[in-house]
């Protein structure tokens, strides 16, 4: 019965709005729906929660979170900013650009937006203020640059997308670099044009060669980490799983013995915090699996695909509709819940429209990431707002130009699959190979 789907949707959204933990919303909704419309016993759902955790691939989530947390607890953030600063500090608006580049580098270690905004924003916003940068610039740029954390791999959103869609995680990771670089360069250019004629901010002199070498040496161990992860994965030495393990061991060794920024007692805290963070994400996987049971039992993804296909004929229009939907959902929900709820419904439609699932995975990740700083309820807005002690209206105005830059990048990625899939194809990853419009 069609009206029952609407009730289920309203039930789910209502519970979420009522501040109930997301995984419980998913569990309760599927339990209630299964009880009313089917004769499946609740016991099966409990079994599903248990079984959905019985999955080796989930460990990669825990270890990438752990790796990011070790580096945040240590001194890496400082070292990355120092390194980025020496690269661009002599340009107009140099410190601002350094903030963006540091976010990008941090993104290559961490997989989460919130972690990036907290770690880099907390450091950079006061620093920018000290150097005389206007508040609306520093808040705007540091709120939005945090998105690079989840766009540049390793990214937790991509890990879960690859799990539900069965696309290669390694290929999906590769697609993240192009938008990451585009957003970084775009934001740096914009900074350059703002501060080109600004005389009040003192520019640093061009650093001497020996100074560059000195700073690079100091940040060498930190910069090696993303290198180990990606060279390891793409040379075929490690799987993504093993890369996460090696990265954690490396990060522990560097922070404990080389930087000496962490004590053994600190290790326990970092590990426990990471385990809890990963638990809050993985339990949503369990909730989403329960909800998936309901969806497949009622055959909803297929019915929805039929409805969408009969309403929209052109793939371009379909993508536009999906991007708008994702942007809207991204402001309300975190990237993990959104990926797990929307993904299974959208993936069956891709084949009909001839869209590559790897391409779609990237669109989804970037669109949901932008939601983190979309007014009025994006999480990042509130974090930087409280760091800089500014009202939400001030932050909203401040982020607008940067939001526009990221939206332009998103649209380019959406309508130029060749650009998105460039790196995976160059490195020989087989993607579905169908490009926009070629499917029909």
């Amino acid at each position: 019965m069609e009206w029952s789907y609407l009730i289920v949707l309203l039930l789910l959204l209502g519970m979420m709005a009522a501040y109930i933990p997301v995984f419980m919303c998913l569990f309760f909704t599927s339990a209630i729906s299964l009880l009313i419309w089917t004769d499946i016993p609740i016991l099966l759902l409990i079994q599903t929660i248990f079984r959905s955790m019985d999955n080796f691939a989930l460990i990669v989530v825990l270890f990438f979170i752990l790796c990011g947390n070790i580096m945040t607890a240590g001194t890496i953030v400082e070292k990355l900013i120092k390194f980025s600063n020496i690269l661009v500090s002599w340009l107009p608006g140099g410190l601002g650009m350094a903030g963006v580049i540091a976010c990008a580098l941090f993104g290559a270690i961490s997989g989460s937006t919130v972690a990036t905004v907290v770690a880099l924003g907390g450091f950079m916003i006061p620093a920018l203020r000290r150097h005389g940068y206007p508040d609306n610039y520093s808040v705007g740029v540091m709120t939005t640059a945090g998105n690079l954390g989840v766009i540049i791999p390793p990214s937790i959103g991509m890990i879960l997308y690859s799990m539900i869609s069965n696309v290669s995680l390694e290929a999906l990771f590769l697609t993240g670099f192009v938008p990451g670089v585009m957003i970084t360069v775009g934001m740096c250019f914009y900074t350059f044009f703002i501060f080109k004629n600004n005389k009040s901010i003192v520019r640093e002199p061009v650093p001497s060669f020996s100074k560059v070498i000195e700073v690079s040496k100091e940040s060498f161990w930190a910069l090696m980490l993303p290198l180990i992860i990606f060279v390891g994965i793409y040379s075929g030495m490690f799987t993504a799983n093993e890369a996460a393990v090696v990265a954690c061991v490396y990060a522990f060794i560097v922070e404990l013995f080389i930087h000496k920024s962490m004590k053994f007692s600190g290790v326990k805290n970092v590990v426990v915090n990471s385990a809890v963070t990963s638990a809050t994400l993985l339990i949503i996987v369990a909730g989403a699996t329960c909800f998936g049971r309901y969806l497949t039992f009622e055959n909803i993804p297929n019915k929805l695909t039929e409805a969408v296909v009969s309403a929209i004929q052109s793939p371009a229009l379909f993508l536009l509709a999906i991007v708008i939907l994702l942007l809207a959902i991204g402001t309300l929900m975190d990237i993990i819940s959104a990926t797990l709820i929307i993904g299974p419904v959208c993936i069956p439609m891709l084949q009909v429209f001839g869209i590559d699932p790897v391409h779609f995975g990237l669109i989804m990740t970037v669109a949901l990431a932008i939601g983190y700083c979309t007014p009025p309820v994006g999480v990042s807005l509130y974090i930087t707002g409280s760091i800089a002690n500014k009202s939400i209206i001030f932050v909203t105005k401040a982020v607008l130009p940067y939001l526009v830059i990221q939206l332009i990048v998103l649209l380019m990625l959406t309508y130029m699959p060749g650009l998105t899939l460039l790196l995976p194809h160059l490195l020989g990853y087989e993607t579905a190979g169908i490009t926009l419009g070629g499917g029909r």
């Binding site: 009522a18 460990i59 393990v245 809050t280």
Partner: protein
């Protein structure tokens, strides 16, 4: 008095949760790392490591949820809360009530599943751990979440009371 009991329970539970989470994650990290070294160095791999990993994921997820309730780090949609802050008290109450209901469901049905598993006396393939022990993580999660929720509600009431006294 009630506060004192809660504080005592909290101390014991926190100690238990933190150390078991820490040890299980470290054991898996080390096991997987050695597995990589063994595979490259000696062309040999540990058969039990994969099973151990899966068991540790279950353990960290189900027990980690209890800590997440305590530290209030469960993932929730806070859009409505941010737009209408005056609803705070009502939303908190609903959220806590839902967690309590979920805990009871977990305890009751988890217990039923454990009984079923105990009757079949299945074991995991390599490590030979009885399945009933793994399934008992579900009622354990329910119980821990229930205790943690009571603790968080108590904290909330105390904060509310202090606010009222100040006014």
């Amino acid at each position: 008095m009630f506060g004192k009991i809660l504080a005592g329970v909290d101390k014991v539970l926190t100690f238990f949760e933190e150390w078991t989470l820490f040890l299980s994650v470290m054991v898996v990290l080390i096991a997987l790392f050695f597995n990589i070294i063994l595979r490259y160095g000696f062309n040999y791999s540990l058969a039990w490591s994969e099973e151990l990993v899966r068991e540790v994921i279950m353990y960290t997820t189900f027990i980690g949820c209890s800590v997440a309730v305590k530290t209030r780090s469960m993932i929730k949609v806070d859009a409505l809360l941010q737009l209408v802050p005056s609803l705070r008290l009502a939303l908190m109450t609903i959220s806590h009530a839902a967690t309590i209901i979920f805990s009871f469901i977990m305890i009751y049905y988890g217990y039923l599943i454990c009984l079923q598993q105990a009757a079949t006396s299945q074991k995991t393939i390599i490590l030979q751990i009885p399945m009933v022990i793994l399934y008992s993580l579900l009622p354990a999660m329910g119980t821990l979440m229930l205790i943690r929720t009571i603790q968080v509600i108590y904290q909330d009431i105390m904060i509310e009371r202090e606010k009222r006294e100040k006014i």
